[in-house]
Symmetry: C2
Subunit: 120 residues, 2 copies
């Protein structure tokens, strides 16, 4: 499969696929005789995984670390798991932080509505 087809099937621009390859999120594919990139079907789901993980809030370098077949930093299953666990704790503290913020802002709004003081 050529890069353009892969792009159409996944909705990820070719420029972006090449970018991911350059940065180790996509493996370097084999080449056709003319030098064109030649992708196996499996790359479709790999791209979906990347898209999902980004939506999940992982940065590209985080994703790189836990994708198997990473051409740059290959990790053992156990490492991947502890990475994910760390991320879980991280997400948890983000949630708590946001909840505090939410309450703070609520209070600010209440104050602003009550007394005209700009107070910020």
């Amino acid at each position: 499969m050529k890069i353009g087809e892969l792009a159409k099937l996944t909705g990820v621009a070719t420029s972006r696929i090449r970018f991911y390859e350059k940065h180790g999120l996509m493996p370097r594919p084999s080449r056709q005789d003319n030098g064109y990139r030649d992708y196996p079907e499996s790359m479709i789901s790999r791209l979906h995984t990347i898209t999902m993980s980004k939506a999940l809030g992982f940065s590209l370098s985080e994703i790189r670390r836990f994708l198997p077949d990473d051409p740059r930093e290959n990790m053992k299953r156990q490492e991947i798991i502890s990475n994910l666990e760390a991320k879980l704790a991280d997400v948890d503290s983000q949630i708590k932080r946001l909840q505090k913020i939410k309450n703070n802002v609520k209070e600010i709004i209440t104050n602003m509505k009550a007394n005209g003081a700009s107070s910020c």
Copy 2:
């Protein structure tokens, strides 16, 4: 108060304070005879407000828009309030998104621990 003191009191690096000034989040302070920036006490809470707002997920240009005394774009109270309310809803959906992520990651971890399949 000199910039260094302000930095120490707020935990915001001097380089950052100057950056905020340059980008209209902090007003240009008056200067001492020697040309040093001279801040009033009120700038402490202004920096706290900026820090808080950043934590809320506002971008710097959003913050610039609702900070009073903005040297560039001043907003009315009512606008500020509705801005904050919009952001509140936003934070709420961020929290929900993170909670989904949390559950997703939990499941992935469980799966990875159960069956050896890398499955990504």
